[in-house]
Symmetry: C2
Subunit: 353 residues, 2 copies
């Protein structure tokens, strides 16, 4: 089964749960303004997205659970991952001053346009985004409190859930510290750490682990095997994103094209370029890359240097090697062939650049 | 027992738990930068604070529990309230562009000063504050996952915990929409709603309810009585804060003096002034109050108008009436005399302007 087929089978239940939850929130809101904001959140969540994290959780849960268990509780957990993802996207766009997301305006800009008539505070859109992120986080806990599972399973789930957003935030913190950073040339393992935390753990390992924990299992060795599969796959995923973030058009990726370059993000791709460029070229690259406002010409020149340095090629090769490693580790997981097929489908998706 | 005496008895366990938790996080951090940030968080939490919310939870738990239960699990929950409070203070100061908190620099300014050498991004302090707030939220869940309680109690606790930060955030959202707002003259029940959500629920009702739930009890009528005690007491608390925010000196309240006026906050006190001022005076008040940058002269004139309008007097009278109502409702709670004494001590604290 391809990952897309698995998605067509399970996304309706996830999207249905999310829609029911927020529609319920709108209906039961004690005050009109709350219902309005919940409407905005639901609209944002309804934008096109790949639902990768909830699907990874579902695949894991279905692969590891004993037979005949109901899947409804896993759907709740999967939906929470998508809801929390929306929260992180809202914060990311705020931090990156991004303007577009999933084919629409970034959430803080939507809020600014909708509510700027209330106040002379020009930062109102940002302020609302910060506050609604808390509400979304708290809503997620409400959903978790309603998941029916034995106490030990529930406590373990909450622990993994907590770890997920700790590790992701640490990755985001490094990402912010090393954006437009004069320290990128001596950043060492920072871009690898960012990829491991923000993608391997956030998108692959923890969703798999949450599905595993919800299935009621708790074997250290299997958890290690899940991690060994997740790390290379996540880095490969991030490398693919890095390459697309520099060389793809905005239509393909649904957010601002060139945003990685414009924001001066220290990706693995950029680190490869820095390692490959000679003294003078490297100075020129740094000078351009650290410009807070970059012209189209600047962006084009940076893109050209990344390509000519061989970094694009190296990123592609590393990506292929990591995909191969993930496929080897996938075979070691104690999951039925059907689940191995779905996860193989995910690897295929990440393999396609 | 006064509330201060109750505090001296229970704060050491709460502060000890918080200190142990974050010291443990620092010791077990996989990367140096994490340990550094945890150090900053602990330092922030160690600043002088009244620990009102954790103490209210403890008083409730001790009053409602059956005899001879261990209090260690309640201490964990109480500590979480203080940790989450730090998170909200960080966000509040970011949103309000505040500079001082608990006698030190606001957290985002601390971060800006410490980490601005990393990046040309002038907003790095704000970005770090947004991200660390998520980490603190996630840490709180980790602590909750470790609270030993029957499943039903744990689920109810998580539900109340979730409601707490939903309602508080809704209050904060209204607060932001109506700061420097051209709509303050026709805001209706908004300042009352803000007080009810941000103070009655956040500081009194939910901490009491969390202690109640942790005690294993779940009686609808008693929950109603807890709410009836909490609402007037919280509004009284907010009125006291409103009055101090305009008329007290900065040293007394540990944050910037005049900040409510400078930020153009729609408090009940300001609403009383708007209701009392005649046409011309009111226009002048609005004109001054909506200035984004206020001179010391502006602030003094606003303060004088609030006083002369009779709003200060009305706020004081309302405050006294609400304190009286809270004392009457306190007698209806099914708690032993000792707990009634502690909560009476809290009322005394709030009664003193």
């Amino acid at each position: 089964m391809t990952f897309a087929q698995f998605g067509r089978e399970h996304i309706p239940a996830i999207d249905g749960f999310i829609s029911d939850y927020f529609t319920g929130k709108m209906a039961s809101a004690e005050h009109r303004f709350m219902a309005d904001f919940y409407g905005d959140i639901l609209e944002y969540l309804n934008r096109d997205g790949k639902r990768i994290r909830p699907l990874v959780l579902m695949a894991s849960y279905l692969g590891y659970r004993r037979r005949f268990r109901k899947t409804g509780e896993a759907v709740k957990a999967a939906s929470v991952l998508e809801i929390m993802h929306a929260m992180l996207l809202i914060q990311d766009d705020l931090i990156d001053r991004a303007t577009l997301r999933r084919g629409g305006p970034a959430f803080h800009l939507l809020m600014r346009d909708k509510y700027s008539s209330y106040t002379l505070n020009g930062g109102i859109g940002n302020d609302i985004a910060i506050i609604l992120a808390d509400i979304i986080f708290a809503d997620s806990l409400e959903i978790i409190s309603g998941i029916a599972a034995p106490r030990a399973v529930k406590d373990r789930f909450l622990q993994v859930f907590s770890r997920t957003y700790q590790v992701t935030a640490w990755g985001q913190l490094l990402d912010s510290l090393y954006s437009l950073s004069t320290r990128i040339a001596e950043a060492g393992d920072v871009p690898m750490l960012i990829s491991t935390m923000k993608t391997s753990h956030y998108t692959i390992f923890y969703p798999l682990l949450m599905g595993y924990v919800l299935s009621g299992k708790n074997d250290r060795q299997e958890i290690s095997r899940i991690r060994e599969f997740s790390i290379p796959l996540g880095i490969a995923f991030q490398l693919r994103d890095d390459i697309q973030g520099v060389f793809a058009s905005g239509d393909e990726i649904g957010k601002s094209a060139d945003s990685d370059i414009r924001e001066g993000k220290l990706t693995l791709l950029v680190q490869y370029a820095l390692e490959a460029l000679g003294g003078g070229e490297r100075d020129r690259f740094m000078e351009l890359f650290l410009r807070e406002e970059k012209s189209d010409g600047d962006v084009g020149e940076i893109r050209g240097m990344i390509d000519a340095s061989g970094a694009r090629g190296r990123a592609g090769e590393t990506h292929r090697a990591l995909v191969g490693e993930a496929l080897r580790k996938l075979r070691r997981l104690s999951v039925p062939p059907e689940t191995a097929g779905v996860l193989g489908g995910l690897v295929d998706l990440i393999a396609a650049v």
